[in-house]
Symmetry: none
DNA sequence: AATGAATGAGCGTTCATTCAT
DNA sequence: AATGAATGAACGCTCATTCAT
C-alpha cells in the first residue's frame, strides 16, 4: 500500500527487468493504458484499482491475474512507457545526415511527435510526482530513458561544437537546459496547469528552437556593448 | 485560509513570550511548513495527517484546531506559498535600473535565491502533481503567481525589444520557454529526479542565462557565419 | 433503499443452495436485523458499525457493500419496518366481518401479535428517539405507517358510530388516545423502562380494550348513576 | 464515553443521591437546562458538550467545573427533572377534596400544566431513549417518579372503586393504561413525531378523560348485545 | 480466465477530557 | 472561577487484496 519502496524488493536492481513475468506476456495493455491515464490524472495513491479495472472494462479481481499489486501495476506502466520512449528515441537518432542544427530540430520535434503529444508524455509527470515514493523506478527510468535522451542531445551538441556550428559551452548544463522545456511541456499537458496553453505546443517548441539556435551559435553577442546606451537613448 | 501565517518555521525552543501564546500564533505556519514538506515528498493523498502532526510536534487533533480538513490544509500550504512567491517577485522587480539583460539576470537568479532554493520551490511540484485533483487551487495559483511571474518576464523582454537590446520575437512563447527551466528545476529538486543533480543549479541557471542572452540578441546568427561579420550587419 | 430485503433473519446454517449465493441474497436483511436490534438498544449515534457487523457475523467493510452509509442503514431499517408493519396492518383489517367492537379488538390484539411482540416494535422507539435527527425519515414513516394505522382505527370507530354501537365522539382525538397505549407499550418493551413490566402485555391490552369498549359505548355514564337506568335512556 | 453503566458506579444505589456534591450547590441550572434541551433534541450520544456550553453561554471547560463528565451532566439533568416532577406531583395530590372523577381530572390536567407542557416533559423522552444506556438512572427515575405517579393514580382509582363511583377492575393495568397517553404525549411533543399534533393536547387529554370516565364507571355496557345486530342492520 | 463478495488494516475526522494560564 | 488550546482514543468509511466459485 504505502510504496515505501524497501519491502519485498527481491528483483535484481541491475540489468534486465525482474523475472516476475509469469503471465506478463498475455498482460493486456488495456490495463496499463487505463492505469496510465488514471495515475496521470489523479496520482498513484489517489487512483483506485476499481476505477482502473472499470476503465479497462474488466473486474477488479482480473487486475490481480496480471499484476501482483498496485505497485507492480505502476511499475508495468512505467516499463511500457520506457519501451515506447526508447523505441521513439531510436527512430529519432538513427543515422542522421545533416547539420547539427537540423539534428537538434529533428530531436526536438521528433520528441514531440513521438512522445510529447502522445499519452506517453504522462509518464514524465508520473516520474516527477511519484519518484520519491518509488525511488528505484525513478532511478531506473532515469538511467534508461532520461540519460538516453541526454546522450542523444549531447552528441548533437558536440557534433555542432566540433564542426564549428556551435560555440563551445558547458555541455552538461546545456543538455539539461534544452530538455527542460520539453519535460515541462509534457508535465504541463498532463497536469493542465502552468498555463492553460496560452501558446500552442508547436509555437512553443519553435520559439525554443529558435532561441537555442541563436544561443548556441558561435557569434559574439557583445552583451556589454549596448548596455550603457539603453537607459540613455532607448525607446 | 487561516490568516496569521507568515512566520519562519524555525522556532527557538525557549523564548521570552509565554510559550502558550507563542505557540498559538506560530502554529499555523509550523503546520503548513510540515505539511508542505510531506506533501512535496509523498504527494497529497499519500501523506498522513498523523505524520504532518508528528513532524510539527503536535497531536493529530491539533491540526483540526487550525484547519478544517486535509484539503483546507493543502489550500493553506499553497496560499502561504503564494504569499511568499509574490513577496519575492515584488522585491525582484521593484524599480530596477539597468539594461534588460541585467533585469533578466536579476529575475532568474533572484527567483533562485528567494524561491528556487527555499522550500517554497516545492509548491511548484505540488501544483504540477495535484492540479487535476484541485483544479480551483491550481487555477488560482496560476492567476496569482504564474501569471504574475509571466508578466514580469514579459515586461523585461519587451523593454529589451523596445530598446533594441533584444530582437523581436514571439513574446508569449518566449516567456514560457524561459520559465520552463526554472519550473523544472524546482520540480526536479523537489522530486530528486530528472537528473541526480549532475550540474549544480547555479551552473544550470548560468548556462540558461547565457543561452538566452545570445538567443535574444538582435544579431543574424547564420550557422557557420564568420565571426567578425556579426556585429556589423545586424538586422 | 436496497431492494432485495424481505427475508426472515433466522438463517439455517446449512441449506441446499450454494452458501455464497444464499448469503448474498439474505445479507441485507441479516444486516438490518442486527442494526435494528442495536439501534433500538443503544440508539443510532451510540451504535458502532463494528458491532452491527459483528452481530451479523460479517466484517465492517461488508456493511458498505450493501449500504452506502450508517444513515442509509438506518433508513433501510425503518423501511423494512414499514413493510412489515404495513403487511401486518393489511392482514388485520382485510375484509373483516363482525361488530365494530370485534374489529377494534382484532386491531389491538392483531397489532400485538404481529408488531408489538416482534422485534419490529423497536422501530417505534427508533422513530421516537431519532425523529429529530432524521426528520424526513420520521415524516415518511408517519405518512406511510402511523397514518395508515390511524386510518384503520378511525374506520373502525366510524363504523361503530354509524351503527349506533359507539357514541359520537371526537374521532381524531380518540384515535390518538387509543393508539397511545400501544405505542407506549412498544417503546416500553424496547426500552425496558416505564415499569418493569408490572403487568403482562396481554393484561394491559385487555384492560385497555375493556376501558375502551365501555368508554365508547353509547350510554350515559353519569357517575354514581343507578345501574339499571343506563341502557334505557341512552344518547 | 460509552455509558456502559457498570464502571465506577460507587454511589450507594439506595436512598439519597450520591455524595458527589462538591460544587453542586453552585451548579448553574443554565447548564442543565441547555443540556436538557440538547439531549432531548439530539439524544445523549449525539449531543456535543461544545454545543451545550455554547447554548449556556460558557466555554466547554467550564462545564467540567460543575460536572465530572458528560454522564454526570446527564444524571444531573434527570435529577433536576425528578425534583421538578416530584414537586409538581406534590402540588397535584395535596389533600384533594371531591369525587374520584374530579381527582382523576385534576391529576391528568395538573400533569399537563406542570409537566407535560413544560420542558420537563423532555425528561420522559430522555428516559425512554436512554434507559438502556443508563439503566440505574432509568431505574431510579422509575422508582421515584413513575411509581410515584402510579401511586397517585392508583389511589384515585381505588377511592372511586371504594365509593362505587368506579367499577372494580385490574388496578395495576388500568394505571398503566391511563398513564400511557400522557407519557406518549410527552414523548411526542419532545420528538415532534407520532402525529404532527393533529389534535391539540387539550382536546387529546379531554377525550382521554371522557373515554376514561365512561370506561371506569360501573354501568353495564352490554358489549354482547349490539354485536350481532351490527352487520345485519348497521348503517 | 474471470468474477465479485468479503476482508481488515488504515486514515480522516470528531469530541470528551485535561490542564496551563 | 473561567478559559480554550491540546490531546488521543474512537469511529465512520475506504480500498488494496484475497479467494471461493
Amino acid at each position: 500500500m504505502r510504496p515505501d519502496a524497501t519491502r519485498s524488493e527481491s528483483n535484481p536492481p541491475a540489468d534486465s527487468l525482474p523475472p516476475r513475468r509469469r503471465r506478463k506476456d498475455a498482460r493486456p495493455s488495456e490495463l496499463t493504458a487505463a492505469a496510465l491515464a488514471l495515475f496521470v490524472d489523479k496520482g498513484f495513491a489517489a487512483t483506485r484499482l476499481d476505477d482502473v479495472a472499470a476503465r479497462a472494462g474488466v473486474s477488479k479481481g482480473t487486475l490481480y491475474l496480471y499484476f501482483d499489486s498496485k505497485e507492480a501495476l505502476f511499475k508495468a506502466v512505467i516499463e511500457e512507457g520506457m519501451v515506447a520512449a526508447l523505441t521513439a528515441a531510436e527512430q529519432r537518432s538513427s543515422d542522421f545526415q545533416g547539420s547539427a542544427a537540423d539534428l537538434l530540430q529533428q530531436l526536438l520535434f521528433g520528441w514531440w511527435e513521438q512522445i510529447g503529444k502522445t499519452p506517453m508524455a504522462g509518464v514524465s509527470k508520473l516520474i516527477a510526482c511519484e519518484s520519491k515514493n518509488f525511488p528505484e523506478v525513478a532511478q531506473y527510468y532515469h538511467e534508461r530513458v532520461i540519460n538516453r535522451g541526454r546522450a542523444l542531445l549531447r552528441a548533437a551538441l558536440q557534433r555542432g561544437v566540433a564542426s564549428g556550428e556551435f560555440r563551445a559551452l558547458d555541455l552538461d548544463s546545456a543538455v539539461e537546459v534544452i530538455m527542460a522545456p520539453l519535460l515541462l511541456l509534457a508535465i504541463s499537458r498532463s497536469s493542465r496547469c502552468f498555463g492553460e496553453q496560452q501558446t500552442s505546443p508547436e509555437a512553443y517548441l519553435q520559439t525554443h528552437f529558435e532561441l537555442l539556435l541563436r544561443g548556441l551559435c558561435g557569434t559574439e553577442c557583445v552583451p556589454a556593448a549596448p548596455r550603457g546606451a539603453v537607459t540613455g537613448s532607448g525607446a
